[in-house]
Structures are given as C-alpha cells and as structure tokens.
Subunit: 381 residues, 2 copies
Amino acid sequence: MAGRHSTLNIQHSAFNISLSSLSTPAFLVDRNIVEQNCLRMRARALSSGVAFRPHVKTHKTIEIGQMQHGGAAGPITVSTMAEAEFFADSGFGDITYAVPIAPEKLPRAAALAARIERLNILIDSELALRAVEEFHAANGTVFDVFLKVDCGYHRAGVDPNDPDSARLAMAIANSPAVHFQGLLTHAGHSYNASGIEEIRRIAAEEIESLTRFRAILGIDDLTRSIGSTPTLATADTFADTDEIRPGNYVFFDAFQSTLGSCTRDEVAVSVLATVVGSYPERGQAIIDAGALALSKDTSPDHLDPNFGFGLVCDVNLNPLPARLIALSQEHGKLATSVPLPVGTRLRVVPNHSCLTAAMYDRYHVIDGGNIVDEWRPVRGW
Amino acid sequence: MAGRHSTLNIQHSAFNISLSSLSTPAFLVDRNIVEQNCLRMRARALSSGVAFRPHVKTHKTIEIGQMQHGGAAGPITVSTMAEAEFFADSGFGDITYAVPIAPEKLPRAAALAARIERLNILIDSELALRAVEEFHAANGTVFDVFLKVDCGYHRAGVDPNDPDSARLAMAIANSPAVHFQGLLTHAGHSYNASGIEEIRRIAAEEIESLTRFRAILGIDDLTRSIGSTPTLATADTFADTDEIRPGNYVFFDAFQSTLGSCTRDEVAVSVLATVVGSYPERGQAIIDAGALALSKDTSPDHLDPNFGFGLVCDVNLNPLPARLIALSQEHGKLATSVPLPVGTRLRVVPNHSCLTAAMYDRYHVIDGGNIVDEWRPVRGW
C-alpha cells in the first residue's frame, strides 16, 4: 500500500510531481490543512479532559487515522465492519462500531473483538439485545455495548424520555451477556441549523440528553459519548461529557464552511477537474467531474438554495463566478459568467467531503501545489 | 478476477449459496433479467438494421458487455478512459469514448487507439480540434472523431442550428489530423419527460437533429449515432439513424419504471439491506444501506415527488408501504406504516442503477434466490 509510512520519509517521496500533470478527475487532500484540523480538535479534547475517539469514516485512511491521534493508533469510531477490520490490521485496537449492529454481523464482530483490545458495538432495541444474548449463549462472546440515544436527530437511538428506554438500559446493565460501556448520541440535526447560536443550543441538548438519561439510570460509570462536527467544531471546550467522536473535521467541506463549522481556509479537500465543453452562448460549461467524481449531496439548502453541487474555484482555490447546476454520471454542468475555455483546470470544493472521498480509490496528497503522496482508503462493507 | 467466464460453467460455480447468508449491504443483479434486457434491445437493433454500440457505463463489467452482444466483444460506448482500457484488455476492440475529450487525455487515448481496432473520441469545440491537431503534429496520431451535437438536452454538444457548428464540422471534415466518423447526440432530457408521448416526441427530435445537420453539411457517410435509454427503450423500431447507444437498459431502475421506459419486472438490480433500528412509535426504521450503498439520486420528482431514495421491497421484491426518506453515509431512514423489526431483510430497487452500481466493488449475481456468481466492475477514471 503506497505511502503508508510516508510522513517519515516525505523528502524522498516519488510523488513529488506538479498538480498540472495530474489526470482528472482527482481527489486532492492538502496535508498541512488536515494536520492543522487534526491538531486543533485533539488539543481541545485533551485540554477539556475528555476521551478522544475520532470517527474515521470521512477519510478511511490509516495515515489520517494516525494523524488524528498525533501519530498513534488511538481509539477510533467506524461506520462499517470493513473499516473496523482495516484499522485493526494496522494496530488500532480500540474501536467503536457506531451504527446499530445487524444481528447477521455478530459473528464477524465477534471474530474482530477476539483479536483486538476492545470492540464496542451499538444497540438500541430489545431485539438486538436478544440477538446478542443468543449469540453469547451459543458462542460465549461478551460484547462491549453502547446504547444509542436519540438527542433530537430522530435517525437511530432510543428516546431518553421514554420509560421503555430506561427499561432497555437496565436490561443491558443486568445482562450477563454484555458489558454495558455507555451511552452514545449524535446530533446530526446540527447540520440543519441556521447559525452558530442554533448549533450551540443543539450541542447543549446533545450533552444534556445523555447526562439526564444517565442520572435516571443511576449508573455513574457509563461513558457519555457525543459527536457531530458542527456541535464539536464550534465549541470552545467540552464539559459535562466523557468522550467526543468528531469525524468530518479532518477535511471539512463546502457544507461545513457555509454552516459556520469552519472557515473556507480550513477545508482540506477539493476535486481537480478539466473543462471539456464550453458554451459561452448559453453561459455554460462542462467539466469531467460528474456524480461519480463529486457525489450528489447538496449544500445547506436552507442557507443558500442556489449554491450548487460544490464550490467552483480556479486551481489556486479562488472562487469563480460559476455554479455547478447539474451532475450526470461523468459530466458536471456549470452556469458561468466568465469564459471557461476547453482545457481549463478547476478545483471544486465538495459539499460533503465524506461522500466525495468515498468515490476514490486513492487520494492525491498535496503540499504547496505539488503531489507529495498517495493515500488509499478502505472501501465497501 | 472471479467469475469472468462463469456463464460457461455455472453449474459448477462456488457461489451457489443462499441470499439469506449474504452480508449487507450487497448489490444484487438478476442474471436472467439482465439477459432478457440485453436480448430484447439487441434484437430490435438488428431487426432495424442499425449498428449497435451499447454503453457499458451502467454495469462496467466484462460479463454484461459480452451479454449485450450475445457473447461477443462487439462495439461499445464508454464514459471513462478507465472503462475503455479495461474493456480493451478483454478483447473489445471498437470503442467510442462518449464524453468530450480533455486535451490532457490525448496521450492516453493515443496509446489505447494504437492497440485496438478503433477508438472514437468526441469533440465539440474548435479548441479541442486544435488540441487534437497539435497532438497529431507532434505525434502523428490520426484520431477517429465524432462531433457531439446538442439535440435539446443542453449539456454538451454544438447547436445544430448555429452556422458556427457547421463551420466546426467542416473544419473537422477538412482536417488531415483526424478521420471524421460521424455525429453523436444524447437526448438526456427524455429523463424529464412526463410520459411516453413526450418521450417519443424527444426521440423524434433526437433523430431529426442529426439527419438535418448532416444534410446541411452534405457529408452523407457520417454516422448518425443516437442514444438514451428512455428514447430507445420505448421505440418499436429505429429508423432514419445509423447507430444506437443505450446503456441503462441492461439494469433499468426505479426511475425508468416510473418514467415508463420499462416495467417493474424488467428492473434487474436491487440492494439487499438489513433493518438495524426500528422505531414504531414514530413510524420509522433504519437500514444499513445509506448514501454509500444506494447513491443519492432521486426518483423522477416531476412524476412522483414523494417517491424517496429507492423503492422499498421485501426480499421477494414485493413493494412495502415504506419510503426511504433520508440517506446519511451508512444509514437509510424509512418512514413505514408496517412494523419492520431489527434483523428484517429488505431489498431496495435503486432510483438510478448506474450510480448505485458504481458504489460496489463486486456485484452478487442471483438466479432464483441463490447467489450464482460474482462480477467485478472497473472503477475510477
């Protein structure tokens, strides 16, 4: 795997070529910005005295996983079993699989749990607990379990105000089949906020929901684990919580900068593209980056309904008066008020870096306009 | 590459396992339906006496590329240079790269053209013609060229009613640097049609635009190449054209069946998923297939604005009273009026099979509820 240990020997890298020689579309990662983003979040976690378990689903690479922990293979959060196994293979031994587990995945999870220090799995239903207990009865595995709590996002998780939720929690606490490690929530609704004030209000609810629910349960040693990049990136410090799980902050994206989670200079990624069609008579152009090169998430429509499918910039990341108005499989359609002749190179800052990064088998790592490395993410499930 | 020649020895396949043992999410391809879809389109092309150059971008596999031609490695259309090279490596020697070429890709295209019988490239601007001519002057390569014509979709292509377009065509015709092979158009706006009648009107324009433009040029031996799955799948026969390039028809999808390009029984693909969260108190559930397992294209919003991110079915493909109302990276959120307990297996018919298929490193090929093979698509650019 190319570039795995590249941070050690970058002066001798074979990748020291110019951006202009790269074939398009290509996914560019600015190493210095990723490093700064990683340093800043980790420093705030350390100074707040909370455990730091960053999510790796945004980047899916060993290189950035280590960067998130200042070079170490520290505790991480994953969104697929493939990620869990990939990072375990590189020495990451403390992993939370933060999607409610499907019963069919228990054998695979047990095999992984047996070879690392800790695999936390997530459940939020009596049926899932029963599946874990049946697996325990048949195989002896004692899983480390977090209970997923819904702090208002209404995707997964139990309602902390529902007495049934406390009953499920107590059933987990009393089950000999599991170790009840903690409560986990994700304030995904912070992505729909209209500004920093609303994000901070959601952040307070995210924290408060777990503290309140834990008090109801009366189990003081349950870890309270929170995490969404908007709520964490806009906080000065982390209080009244035990663990944070930010993910998108390593790259950020056009969505996060529009929302106010970061500045535009803190966005670490872009898609390099080439203009392949130019139609000045209708104020349009076509680039060779379509839905498969950019993914199709929109910007925060509630803040800027005309943003388009990414921020269109020149090769130096200066925004252009052009909007990506449509994506088909391999074509990106621009409405532009400046001429963009065929052959022009552009960079598009993606709306949602997690989904865009996942379209690529390799990332081109840049430093000062040169390709200095190549990182390969894990794929699939 | 597993399963490459599997159609020859399927009785002895190692993949003869049950669907219920498959880990989710998984991309399922019904072999019999793909074969029927391939047979039907090819038969109509042959009986109409038009050249058949199907697109392979929907499936990106050698297996289906051969199926499209009744087992042979016939003429194909591709959307990336990676597809062109992948199919060339398996004996496909007559390829049209149907995206306007970026000047930076000419060396790679020339290298491919030198090792196969025919590589047609696409241009639609004087700048691109100049780049091809400069490449010819430096390297001697004589490219086979199609001129992209805009028949109303307004993505790429020259306006056939603009005198500048005829001037560009004549410049191509008179250039010693290229062989002018033909005119190519794509009626992508047929996807926005409101029914069969409108699709047929667009199909007529698609054909007519090339015939009229060729008459203006007075170059009778230019191939007129058309292609969009809605306009081709709803035609009884193909007249007044020379070549068709359908692609999506091999799989079809929920979009095409809603639009009327196919019946629901003709859709060959689905994503197998597992319910991982169940919230009957709010009429919702979560599956382990999110944006990375399904892609985020919507249905034809103009026909059914509440369709959601795919058609939700049980494991036997019977539609359920459930809608996929949101996708995040690895979660699909369902609004459902029936209980869907944790562990329930579902199949989601994707809205846009081209984008969904491209999310997978392998396809699970099914026949009567069993996995009978595994096909691997080419990825990237």
